[in-house]
Structures are given as structure tokens and as C-alpha cells.
Assembly symmetry: C2
Homo-oligomer: 243 residues x 2
């Protein structure tokens, strides 16, 4: 028996979210189903974060105890053979016996993609939010500046149960232009509040579109009143969890 750490990627479109729920298709539920076919008999896997319905992942982290006679590379293959096509295991390794993907995490990174077009775009809207009127990169840059550093992010999300505090340390918050009309917001923090990235993006896009001044971000942080702009889930991807 050993504790295994697995990095997962998934397309969140067809899931009710990461966390197992009765009567709906969750990432956790599908992974546990796959693991049971490989002889896993415990009640629940451990997970790094509870992504919402529709949120994607490139680097979700889970852990579980399993008696496996072969190498981790074989477990990777066996797991991918059992998982549905919208979930894949990217890496499997043996972790220390008390490794916990959520409590041991030091840093989480998310990406949020937007693109600016007046009409719908079926080939891009699965993984990016269509925004119109178009944003200006200068506005996004100005808005992002105020998000970096240690702040009370109460305006941007709710605290988790374990941690009543809404203080978070944002290590990175920056926009990058990808294509002609496509932008990605890259954000890292020690931890995130519920809906925090989606509120950050919602408010910054308003600034990028010229509908609000960049100072609105600082004002929101200080005022602690919940931001009303919530960017949709499908533009968001959990990129990485670091330990």
C-alpha cells in the first residue's frame, strides 16, 4: 500500500464540478469509479481543489492509497484506460504517506481565457469567454496591477469552511495577448476564495472595455462589497498546484 499523487486534466463541460455529488456526473465520481476497477476499495480520494461545474483543469491534483504491484507508469496507463475521454491522468508518482493535495499545497495557478468577437464562435467558446465590445490590453494591465500582493479579497469571493479568513496572497496576476483578439489572465495565489478568479476577470473585463476605471479594483478591495461581475465558468482552467 502506498499513497499515490496523480495530476489530472479534464474538460469540465460535462461535469457538475470536481466534487462528488449524488445523481450528477463529477470528476471525483468518475475517477473513483476508474480506481475501483483497479482494485481501490477506499471511500474517497483526496483532492486539491473543488472546481465548479464547467471549469477545466490541466493540473488538478488528487491522492489516494492503493496496493499496486507495478510501477507508477503502469498505473498511469491503467488509469487512463479506465477514465472517460474527458478526464486524463497526466502523471502518477508515489507521495509520502501523509501527503494531502489540498492542505499541503503552497501555490495554485489558474488561467482564464477571453476572446473578443461580436458573433458566437463554436470552436473557441468551449474554453474561452466571448466578450463584446472588445477589451483593450492596457485597461486589463491597469486593472490587474491592484490585484497583486496580500489583500482582503472579500469583494471577490467567499471563504472556505476550513479558513474563515478572506486574506489571500496573490503572487501573480497578469494578462497576456494570445492571438489577434484573444487574451489570457494568469493568476497565482497561496490559495483562492470561492469564485475569486471569476470575479477578478469579470471586473477587469469591465475595465478593459472602458466601462469602468482601473481604480474600481482597488475600491472593491477596500470596500469589501461583493463584485457583481462574475465571468462564466467555461473560460477558467486550473493550471497547476505546487507543493
Amino acid at each position: 500500500m502506498a499513497r499515490y499523487k496523480v495530476i489530472l486534466a479534464y474538460d469540465g463541460t460535462a461535469f457538475s464540478g470536481m466534487q462528488r455529488q449524488a445523481n450528477s456526473r463529477s470528476v471525483q465520481g468518475e475517477v473513483e469509479k476508474a480506481l475501483r476497477k483497479l482494485g481501490w476499495k477506499q471511500k474517497s480520494i483526496l483532492t486539491a481543489g473543488r472546481t465548479d461545474a464547467g471549469v477545466h483543469a490541466l493540473g488538478q491534483v488528487i491522492a489516494f492509497d492503493l496496493g499496486w504491484k507495478h510501477k507508477p507508469a503502469n498505473l498511469l496507463k491503467a488509469l487512463n484506460a479506465e477514465l472517460p475521454s474527458d478526464i486524463a491522468a497526466k502523471r502518477v508518482s508515489v507521495a509520502k504517506a501523509d501527503f494531502h493535495p489540498r492542505f499541503d499545497a503552497k501555490k495554485r495557478s489558474y488561467e482564464y481565457r477571453i476572446f473578443c468577437q461580436s458573433q458566437r464562435d463554436p470552436l473557441r467558446e468551449r474554453y474561452a469567454w466571448r466578450v463584446w465590445p472588445a477589451v483593450k490590453l492596457s485597461g486589463l494591465h491597469a486593472a490587474a496591477g491592484s490585484l497583486r500582493g496580500e489583500h482582503d479579497f472579500a469583494a471577490f469571493g467567499s471563504a472556505t469552511k476550513e479558513d474563515g479568513s478572506t486574506m489571500r496572497r496573490v503572487l501573480r496576476a497578469q494578462w497576456r495577448k494570445l492571438g489577434q483578439d484573444e487574451f489570457v489572465f494568469e493568476v497565482s495565489a497561496n490559495a483562492f476564495l470561492y469564485h475569486m478568479v471569476r470575479h477578478m476577470v469579470g471586473l477587469q473585463v469591465k475595465v478593459g472595455q472602458g466601462e469602468a476605471k482601473a481604480e474600481i479594483v482597488k475600491t472593491a478591495l477596500l470596500g469589501r462589497n461583493r463584485v457583481r461581475e462574475l465571468a462564466p465558468a467555461h473560460g477558467l482552467t486550473l493550471a497547476e498546484v505546487e507543493y
Copy 2:
């Protein structure tokens, strides 16, 4: 009454193909359903090409006659409001009364995406073919060279009904590196045979992986025996039709 030309984009995943079929969901069927809600009463729209099940489009072209009292821009909006989320109208314009999207086309362009990874990747496999072992760009370049120009492409696909000939003029056939492990094949021709791009990609990937020499492409063209390597539909996108 006027003839309208519409450029369509769609995610081909959930369609049986472009062409209307009884008892299955086709792009043509969904577009005609949307048009009927806008007062269109004819039997069938005209289409530029019959993409297979799973093939995507950024620039499929259709045409139809419609009595529409407002501007083409209004028709664009009205059409997008009625179309399902995996199809979008990109542009609407008035065409000459006898415009035919297939017979008037001078040039078609397709893109085929591949990426090289040993494990499944749910966030990329919807629009790209996962290939392993990895390909070398030099091999792809060498293979593509023989495809350019006017050739008998009998080895790469079947002739359409209207045109018994398998001669086609390939105006462009080149590979571009996109990301670290991602490549796109851009190919344009006066017209394509059935499955032609997918056979081209299947054979070139074999060369790129070092499993065959670049000369195999020239040999296939001359020998006219059908290539066995058929790349899957989901990596293919109809990019543009020019008139």
C-alpha cells in the same frame, strides 16, 4: 427575394456531418431548421462542401434564397439567435442570383492539427489528433513537398459524383509548428477528393514519426493504390472557401 451567402463555423463533434440525413443531426439540417423559423420555405440550402462526421469548420459556405426585409447584418443576428450553440453564422451577404457555393468555388483551404503526447489530453483532443511517438517537423516538411502541384490523387481519396477525375491542383501544403508539441497542416487546392486531407495527414505523420521515408508520398501518388493511413476526423477543420 434575394440569394444570401453565409459563412458558417461549427464544432463538428456532435454532427453526423454537413449533409442533411434522415434520423441524424447534421449541420445542414440544423441550419435549415433555423432558417425556417425566419420564414424560409424552400426545400434545401446549397452548400460548399460535405464535411464528414466530426470535421469542424471555420469557413463553410452556404447559400439560399430568402425574402428578408432588413439588412444582412440583421439576418446574421437573427440566424445566430436560432442556431444551436455548436453552429454560428460568421458573415451574411447578398450574392448574385445564381451564386452556387460548390460550383463557383475556386479554392478550398483546410487545416489539420496534431499534437504529440504519450497520454490522452482532454483539453486538446476535441480539435487535434494526438500522435505518439512524436513527429519531427523536418520529416513532415519533406513529405509535404511532394503533395504540392497538380497530381492524380487517386491514392488519397475517391472522386466525387460530378467529377470522375482524381486530378487535383494543390496550391499549398505546409506544416507549421504551433506550440511545443503541436503542429498544423495547412492545405489548399482547387478541390479535394473524399477523405483526401485525412489520407495526406495519415501518411505524412508516418513519415514524421520516422516509420516511412519521405519518398513514400511520391510513390503513393504514382502507384495510385489507396493509402491505408487515415487520420481521424476530429483534427480537421474546413478553414476557407474562395470564389
